[in-house]
């Protein structure tokens, strides 16, 4: 509580950064952008992702500390910002710990999104899906082209997208028999 006038001038003296600091950070950001673009031209597998994220994190830190003045301002702002990052990390880590480990306890029969899904209705059979639809002899697009929005397709409701990251071509799951009339799934 010394006095606000003093605090005010002091604050100004502290906050006005020399121009070279701004241009220095700018140059560093451009350099890091060049680095990340060049490194991406080489293929190191998972290493690429790590390098790209580390470079991005360094760039973000520079922007936050200097351009956003976090380094010089009240540390409460730093606390707020870091809190948001921490909770984002919790969010992503916990979500991934679920989605990446499904099927680890009990074997899971995985298959891709049903090829008879509405989004595939208007395309020629199998074209552009990048999916081996030859295994699925009788898709809804051919068997039941008039299926309406909201109408229940005959889908094996235990089907889930392949979470194990392999090429999600169905292996051990036979396609549901779509020649049957549209009925409620019986596989539950």
């Amino acid at each position: 509580m010394a006095n606000s006038t003093h605090a005010h001038t002091h604050e100004h003296a502290e906050h006005v950064l020399p121009l070279r600091v701004y241009f220095g950070v700018f140059a560093a950001l451009l350099l890091l952008t060049a680095v990340t673009v060049i490194i991406a031209k080489f293929h190191f597998g998972a290493f690429n992702l790590i390098v790209a994220m580390v470079v991005a994190a360094v760039k973000a830190t520079l922007v936050a500390l200097i351009f956003m003045h976090l380094k010089y301002d009240n540390k409460v702002y730093m606390l707020i910002f870091v809190t948001s990052i921490v909770f984002l990390a919790i969010f992503i880590i916990f979500t991934m710990s679920d989605t990446m480990t499904r099927g680890n306890v009990d074997p899971m029969k995985a298959r891709p999104i049903d090829p008879r899904a509405i989004i595939y209705q208007n395309r020629p059979e199998g074209v552009g899906l990048g999916m081996d639809t030859t295994a699925l002899t009788d898709t809804a697009a051919t068997a039941n082209p008039t299926r309406q929005l909201g109408e229940e397709p005959t889908i094996d409701t235990t089907a889930v997208p392949d979470v194990r990251g392999s090429d999600s071509v169905p292996v051990d799951v036979a396609p549901a028999d779509t020649t049957q009339p549209q009925t409620a799934p019986d596989s539950l």
């Binding site: 509580m1 006095n3 606000s4 006038t5 605090a7 005010h8 100004h12 006005v16 950064l17 121009l19 701004y22 241009f23 950070v25 700018f26 451009l30 952008t33 990340t36 673009v37 991406a40 690429n48 790209a52 994220m53 470079v55 991005a56 973000a60 922007v63 936050a64 200097i66 351009f67 956003m68 009240n74 409460v76 702002y77 707020i80 910002f81 948001s84 990052i85 909770f87 984002l88 969010f91 992503i92 979500t95 991934m96 989605t99 891709p112 999104i113 509405i118 989004i119 395309r123 074209v127 552009g128 899906l129 990048g130 999916m131 997208p161 392949d162 979470v163 990251g165 999600s168 071509v169």
Partner: protein, 233 residues
């Protein structure tokens, strides 16, 4: 009203006593703050809390990116080849430069160089506009090719199961970011006009500073979007 007046008088006297100087009331000081520094701290704290919600808003989409990429590594690898790295790099440089100019605008207001602040704010808007123009051409190309989310996906040249998932995530994340850029253009235009009108000086430039914080966050998000979509396949 009279009570508020009394309170103001009281605090005024208190301050005058504490400072042993006549109490003067800056024009931009709202009556519920004791001084400009406190008012500014409050405003900035509010802004940072807003930015926290922005991080979490985009965080949901970053999480979706992580999950879908882990589930479909193949289509994320194939999909990124359909993005133009050159345009993405140019846009990254454009956005970084706009971050510099808005930071400089605030820096020049701190030292009362209003004209330089105006030039830098105008430059920021120009760079933001450039970013959107480039983004427009990128989007138009993808719309033309049918590389669109969900059921609008009609592109036939990409290998992999469920290739539309990549473009769903791409359009959601860059789209929300693009909306933020458009909002930013609007807000920067507003503070530019107010700066030209002489509303801001080294005494008071909080709205410009908060706008700068918002704009830097938009830049921060792009710093992550760029490698995740354009570079890492």
């Amino acid at each position: 009203m009279s009570q508020a007046k009394e309170f103001a008088d009281e605090t005024g006297q208190e301050q005058a006593g504490a400072h042993a100087a006549p109490h003067h009331h800056p024009a931009n000081l709202a009556h519920h703050f004791s001084d400009m520094a406190q008012q500014k701290d409050s405003a900035k704290m509010g802004m940072w809390i807003f930015l926290l919600t922005e991080v979490l808003l985009f965080g949901g989409l970053f999480c979706a990116y992580a999950v879908y990429r882990a589930w479909n590594p193949e289509i994320f690898h194939n999909g990124h080849a359909f993005l133009d790295v050159t345009l993405g790099t140019i846009n990254t440089i454009v956005l970084i430069t706009s971050s510099l100019t808005v930071a400089l605008a605030i820096r020049f207001l701190q030292v009362n160089k209003i004209k330089l602040a105006v030039i830098n704010l105008a430059a920021t808007i120009a760079f933001a506009g450039t970013f959107m123009v480039i983004k427009y051409f990128e989007y138009m190309h993808k719309i033309h090719e049918g590389q669109l989310p969900g059921k609008f996906y009609t592109f036939e040249g990409m290998e992999g199961t469920n290739p539309h998932v990549f473009f769903s995530v791409y359009f959601l994340m860059t789209g929300l970011h693009g909306i933020h850029v458009l909002v930013g253009i609007g807000i920067i235009t507003w503070v530019l006009i107010r700066t030209i009108k002489g509303h801001f000086s080294s005494e008071y430039y909080t709205p410009v500073e908060l706008t700068g914080l918002y704009w830097h966050l938009v830049d921060l998000i792009w710093i992550f979007l760029f490698p995740l979509f354009y570079l890492v396949g």
